[in-house]
């Protein structure tokens, strides 16, 4: 059976929020997205980035949970807190190095992305990666992404002394020089040197 992977490439993201809107259609958290898209710094750039649960191999959220309410499925999907156990302490929200879990006060429970378990368990792709029009979020065979994309997938992250490995992959660039993001740097103005023209 072909092994599918979930890949995030922020450099492809166009900030359209199709993923957020599609996520809110989910059967398990109807009306509430478990994914978010943010501008990094709108004054300086149009760059946006989607935040999705990385589904850690050894999830920090579960480690810090005093009620042992956060479980991982056999195939590596980290789930929302178990309602009967969750004490709404928000340790997971604070502890996650990626900033993913959300305390849903409405439900008195921590909710997070479960990689569309209802869909993936019946052979469908997660909703966000299905609709993403830039395929910044992609759910495809691993060999396909390495064949088709320039960037490389990685699932090893270093947070201070903590090394985190994840089920979800992040696409990372080869060595990149600084990219200027101010229109002024690209404009020709009389009497000015164009040494700053970077591309």
């Amino acid at each position: 059976m072909t092994e599918y992977g979930f890949f995030i490439d922020p450099s492809r993201c166009i900030g359209c929020k199709a993923c957020e809107n599609a996520c809110s259609e989910c059967e398990t958290h109807r009306g509430y997205p478990m994914i978010q898209v943010d501008f990094l710094d709108r004054t300086n750039s149009i760059a946006t980035v989607p935040t999705v649960c990385m589904h850690c191999d050894n999830p920090t959220c579960a480690q810090v949970c005093p009620a042992d309410a956060i479980k991982k499925t056999e195939d590596g999907v980290v789930q929302s807190s178990l309602k009967p156990r969750c004490v709404s302490c928000s340790n997971c929200v604070l502890g996650c190095p990626f900033g993913v879990p959300k305390m849903m006060s409405r439900l008195d429970q921590m909710m997070k992305c479960d990689m569309c378990y209802d869909r993936t368990s019946v052979g469908k792709r997660p909703m966000c990666a299905t609709v993403c029009p830039s395929q910044a979020l992609a759910f495809v065979p691993i060999e396909q992404i390495t064949r088709e994309r320039k960037l490389k997938p990685t699932n090893v992250f270093q947070f201070g002394n903590q090394t985190v490995t994840t089920k979800v992959f992040m696409m990372v660039p080869e060595d990149t020089d600084e990219i200027s993001i101010d229109v002024v740097d690209y404009i020709w103005e009389k009497g000015e040197s164009n040494d700053t023209q970077r591309i």
Binding site: I14, A18, A22, G31, T43, I46, V183
Partner: protein
């Protein structure tokens, strides 16, 4: 006199826009029940026409599911596609026909509404002549409906004045392509894009206005291709560009002539291709000589080195492609801008194969199909010129009229509004068009509508233009009728009827047929289904440029779309035009066209020193008649904002979030500043989806391209000043946002 019968605030209270946030029955109840069926159809918002499945139960659309097998978008959707089903079961939906009274609109029977419409039209035509009534159509209609709009105007009303809102969209590109190639269609299927070695995107906010095209562009990059972006703003598609050309608004044509100048200077053109397959090269080559990169830099604000680099990349590429959209087309020299881009592709021999071509990105839902079969003021079905005598004979025989009974070319959309303003046209029948929001110079449009003796609007919702109506006929949404559309590639697609219209609303084509019957034309409008209209349209288009004769609903379903031309039933369709450099003029050759520079119709000067340009955001579709009623979309970008560079903002003492009064030679309007480095410091930008005091079209001007008749939305001159007070609409909203 067509004036709103109540204050606008009252009309909004009664008819919206109000915001729909939840599916039928709420998130937790009714909408959790399984669908009875999933209907494979297409999104109604934009010319990409992504495949989508709508969930249907009890004759209601209750949700969606991606359609991953559809080859164009493979399940991808933008937020408008995801939330499109929220236009269904909407509290604002018009339940039946309305008639204006002194105290507001009142719902009446169809018989009363149709009788009154026909009586008023007949009275006005008797008094002022047939041409005193004009018809507006729209490019979000299915092709069957668009075809019927043209036939209804010319046969049932006998007026020559019929045009459509694509006049604000695709006509500059259409005119340029028709002149250069003899056909108005993007020559390549989208699957050709990732094969380009160099792709230049000119004047297109691709990621927001045609979102799923982004993936095709990123795939081109992954294959090793280079991306060039031409735009006064950095939009999301520019985040991975290899070369960015920040053109000054309105100077595009000089940039493109300069690129051609360098290509010719460096000998990067393909002389053999030019000699064998084109006409007019020598004149164009001569005309670009003066536009050296240094000279072009002075006018366009793009560095000479960047112009040189773009020219070399395009000239040296094995396969180069250009995509363009409204940024270059919404100008009083929109046709010249497109022609200048075509000239580059012709000079470098980039046509007729994967990864090579000059392509327009069609904007509206049926922007392509909606302009092919006769709702344009100068065309008959099959993309035929209305002055093509053979074509007139053919269409007349299909319509069962005499050729001389078909009126000659009438006014374009802008000219129709002019004629209403002058009192030459007295009445308007309009469907799928919201000119009070979408046309430039709102005050002029308002005055023109107020002067009309009779206005009839056909729409599923009360649009802002419908406020001016005498009669509003409650029409249908896309998912309530069967038909075809042609997407951005010229791929004809099948729109499925998922549900019937609610309450006493009706399918649009039936409304036209009923009006025609009452106007004494029963036998020519006796259709009993969309299919019958399509079959007549196929026949009417037969032998024309956009030949649909060989396309059937069944063939579309089987092939997942059929690219026109498709002249016979055993023909598979034509995904790629101009293979073997065979262009569609009678001599098979393409034309180079001269592209002289002219100043904007609203020039920047000392008094109005800043460029104003307008466009769209990803969460809204056109004039917002549908998308301003969908809560999730409205929340993404609730009000228009003024994008301004920090350098310009500082000069005027404006900080992010300040209110800014923008004044042009027409009017003044106030918007909240969004200080961003992603725009030229001599230019400000405001999106156009909103009505009234929030409308940037209060400020835009009515200059049109002399050939395409498109308005110059992308170039106005303005002055700005920090405003101490919030505008009345913001105060009324009690919002700071």
């Amino acid at each position: 006199m067509a004036k709103p019968p109540l204050p606008i605030e009252k009309l909004i209270e009664l008819y919206g826009p109000s915001l729909n946030y939840e599916p039928l029955g709420g998130w937790e109840d009714e909408s959790r029940n399984p669908a009875e069926k999933l209907v494979k159809t297409h999104c109604c918002f934009c010319g990409q026409q992504c495949g989508i499945q709508l969930k249907v139960r009890d004759n209601k659309v209750i949700g969606f599911e991606p359609w991953e097998d559809f080859p164009f978008n493979e399940g991808m959707l933008c937020p408008k596609g995801v939330k499109r089903y929220m236009q269904n079961n909407h509290p604002d939906r018009l339940p039946g026909p309305l008639m204006r009274t002194d105290s507001g609109f009142k719902q009446v029977t169809w018989d009363a509404a149709l009788s009154q419409t026909v009586a008023r039209i007949e009275e006005i035509q008797k008094k002022y002549g047939k041409d005193s009534v004009a018809v507006y159509g729209g490019a979000s209609l299915t092709t069957e409906k668009a075809y019927l709009v043209g036939k209804f105007a010319r046969v049932a009303l006998g007026t020559r004045h019929v045009d459509y809102n694509g006049r604000l969209c695709m006509v500059s590109a259409g005119t340029a392509y028709k002149l250069a190639f003899g056909v108005d269609r993007s020559p390549n299927p989208w699957e050709d894009i990732p094969s380009a070695d160099v792709l230049m995107i000119a004047g297109s906010n691709t990621a927001e206005c045609s979102p799923i095209t982004t993936d095709y562009v990123w795939r081109m990059k992954d294959n090793g291709g280079k991306l060039i972006i031409v735009d006064p703003r950095m939009t999301p598609i520019s985040r991975n560009t290899d070369l960015y050309l920040p053109v000054r608004p309105g100077t595009d044509v000089i940039l493109y002539m300069s690129i051609l100048n360098v290509i010719l200077r460096e000998g990067l053109h393909k002389q053999e291709f030019i000699d064998a397959h084109t006409l007019g090269f020598a004149e164009v080559a001569d005309s670009v000589k003066q536009y050296t990169p240094e000279m072009a830099a002075e006018i366009t604000g793009v560095p000479p080195e960047a112009i040189e680099k773009a020219a070399r990349w395009l000239g040296e590429a094995k396969n180069a492609m250009i995509l363009h959209a409204r940024g270059v087309e919404h100008q009083s020299k929109g046709v010249e801008n497109c022609s200048a881009l075509i000239n580059i592709c012709l000079a470098t021999g980039n046509f007729g194969r994967k990864g090579a071509g000059c392509m327009m990105i069609t904007g509206q839902g049926n922007g392509q199909g909606g302009r092919e079969h006769g709702q344009k003021c100068d065309q008959l079905p099959g993309q035929r010129s209305i002055d093509d005598e053979e074509g007139r004979k053919h269409v007349a025989s299909v319509w069962k009229v005499e050729p001389e009974e078909i009126p000659r070319a009438g006014y374009s959309a802008m000219e129709i509004m002019d004629a209403l303003h002058k009192g030459e046209i007295k009445a308007l029948v309009s469907i799928c068009f919201n000119p009070i929001v979408s046309l430039p110079h709102l005050q002029f449009t308002k005055e023109a509508l107020e002067k009309a003796e009779f206005v009839c609007i056909i729409d599923p919702f009360m649009s802002e233009t419908a406020h001016y109506a005498d009669i509003v006929l409650a029409g249908s949404l896309q998912e309530e009728d069967e038909g075809v559309v042609a997407n951005v590639e010229g791929r004809v697609l099948h729109i499925q009827k998922c549900i019937t219209p609610p309450d006493d609303a009706r399918v649009d084509w039936e409304i036209f047929c009923d009006l025609a019957k009452r106007l004494g034309n029963a036998e020519r409008f006796s259709y009993t289904s969309s299919r019958e209209i399509f079959d007549e349209l196929r026949e009417a288009s037969r032998g024309g440029i956009a030949d649909y004769y060989g396309i059937t609903y069944e063939k579309i379903d089987k092939q997942m779309g059929v690219f026109w031309p498709c002249p016979s039933l055993d023909h598979p369709g034509t995904p790629r035009l101009f293979e073997n450099a065979k262009f569609l003029h009678k001599d098979g050759k393409a034309r180079f066209l001269l592209t002289p520079y002219r100043e904007s119709g609203d020039p920047v000067n000392n008094e109005y020193p800043i460029y104003l340009t307008t466009g769209r955001v990803v969460s809204q579709y056109l004039s917002g008649t549908q998308t301003r009623r969908i809560g999730a979309l409205v929340d993404m970008y609730p009000e228009p904002r003024l994008e301004i560079h920090p350098r310009l903002a500082q000069q005027y003492g404006i900080a992010d979030g300040d209110w800014v009064a923008v004044k042009t030679r027409r009017s003044v309007a106030t918007f909240r500043a969004m200080v961003v480095k992603t725009i030229r410091p001599d230019t400000v930008f405001v999106p156009y989806h909103w009505p009234g005091d929030k409308s940037i079209n209060q400020l835009t001007h009515r200059t049109i391209d002399p050939r395409s008749k498109i308005p110059e939305y992308k170039v106005s001159a303005c002055q700005i000043v920090k405003s101490e007070a919030a505008p009345s609409w913001a105060v009324a909203n009690k919002g700071d946002n």
